[in-house]
Amino acid sequence: MIRHTGLTQSLLLLLFVLCLMTLMLASLFIGTYDLTLASVFENEQASMVMLLSRVPRTLAVVIAGGVLGLIGGLSQVVLNNRFAEPTTIGTAQGVAIGLLGTHILWPESPLYVHTLVASGFGLLSLFGFFSIIRQLKLNDPMLLPLIGLIYSAILGAIATFIAFEFDLMQFLMVWLNGDFSTVISGRYELIWGAAAIAVLVYWLANQLNLLNLGEQTGRALGVPFRTLVFIAMIMIALSTSMVVATVGMISFLGLVVPNIVRYYLGDNLKQSLPWSALIGACLLLGCDMLGRYLSNPFELPASLVFGVLGGCFFIWVLYKGEPNV
């Protein structure tokens, strides 16, 4: 592990914030409709495109990237495994089943009800996963993601089956493949809720850090271990369902980002979480812009661009063979 002194770290932080700002600024001007700074102020249509589409889109990408990076980091501490994140342990798929359910049984209910029910399902799938791995007493860190991916695949198959029967495949595809081309003002605001939870996670970071002690040591030292795990799970489920319901899931983001951050900064959440959020936002924004650029005038979903890059990263980490996780 490479530890940086306080000064270099602040400088690096400043550099990355600047990088994110530059990307955000560039993101405002990339897209099918050509915008220039002057036209935004002079042309009414141009300013409308800017305010209704480009600004919300850029914000949504930054929030989604930040939240997923941070939630990935949290999941890895909760499950004590560096390969855990909402798509590799079935949470996102559970959320999708919940969204399908409310869509079929109670389509008129407001969006926040859909999201709350979906978080309930996300929480259920988390509990299911917990009870499976608790029974197995895993001693090999590779097994958790392995079982998690298959668990996700089975939940995903159930979701596909329901969606197929009720002719909702298109909805399911939208939820499971994160895409920001549909984000417009008035239809994405729920994602700010996920941002609020992310802030809450950061605020609780010192308490959540205690999860690193492990259950036995933690409880012996008087840490309310189960309560902490439960709170963390609720926050994971809620923010996952808000992201999935508004912009869709981005696989591997929560896996890649926290692992890079941890390599440099270690396990202290208070220190690593802001970095996970920052780097997650930068990476996802970069992927989204790449997707807009590559097949102009069409678009590639950001999740697809990230899926290719993140998949390569995942395989590389596994192949290189970290000694012990």
């Binding site: 079982i147 991916l149 298959i150 097949s295 290719v308 998949g311 995942f314 395989i315």
Partner: protein, 315 residues
Amino acid sequence: MSKHALTMIIAIWIVSSLLFLLLGSGGDLDFVWRFRVNKWLALNFVGVSVALATFLFQTVSQSRVLTPAIMGLDSVFLLFNVLLIGILGGAEYAKISGSIKFFLQVVLMMLFAVAVFGLLVRRFSMDISRLLLIGIALGLLIQSLVEFFARLITPEDFSLFQGIAFAQFNRVQTELLGVVAGVLLFVILMLWRIYPAIDIYRLGRNSAINLGIPYIKMTTNLLMLVAILVSASTALVGPIFFFGLLITAIVFALFPTARSGSFMIMAAFIGAISLVGGQAIFEHVLGLASTLSVVIEFIGGLVFFMLLLKSRKSN
């Protein structure tokens, strides 16, 4: 495995074949000949090639939960086709004859299987769970790549590609039957020659080398056979992910001590029976032509999960 079991299994195969060919045909043999025989052949070929491919792959990887499809070999087929469509354009692609595409595909899949699987299996033979995880990640990555390139081609080309990507048991590509039959015959002859060596190979790397098996060469050969077999089945019906696992799990449950020769014969027959019999029931009795693949994949997925959990609990 006793002679008795073999007779039984052949009898079941004949019965399910007759059911598939004759059920609901009203005894009109001309109809059967024109519409059903090709499909029957194709289902048999797919069943046999998937069964053998899975068995050989499990032999090489020394694991009972891995299949070539789980490790992304079926998706390589899609990647190859989407790239070909993207480079040539849909019109040119459609002009190339099926058998030329098939042979190109076989060569590509062989290269991929030997280069990637050979490397991974050799490097991680001590660490099966890591191997499995890399395999699944590789499969996911190749699927993302397929989707990535599918988005870059024109909408007309995309619909052409979709026809290939979602080929099913009731829409087999019958034009390739002759070529696939030849290829299958070749593989079966090869296996006939080397099957005693496979038993020794299954003892594990060190014992096999001690007993005079050229281990690396044989690994390469077996992986090439796997690639040929997977090419054959994907060319006929497109990718099927958990079917092979289902067959080997059934055979292993029925005949836990079978040697590789009899194991392969049983697996081949059970593969053929589940497709022919299953399709007979789903298509002619239930009238649900497209659901067999869904049902097989779902059961196969559950079996995969259970195998994994069981292997954990016994440790």
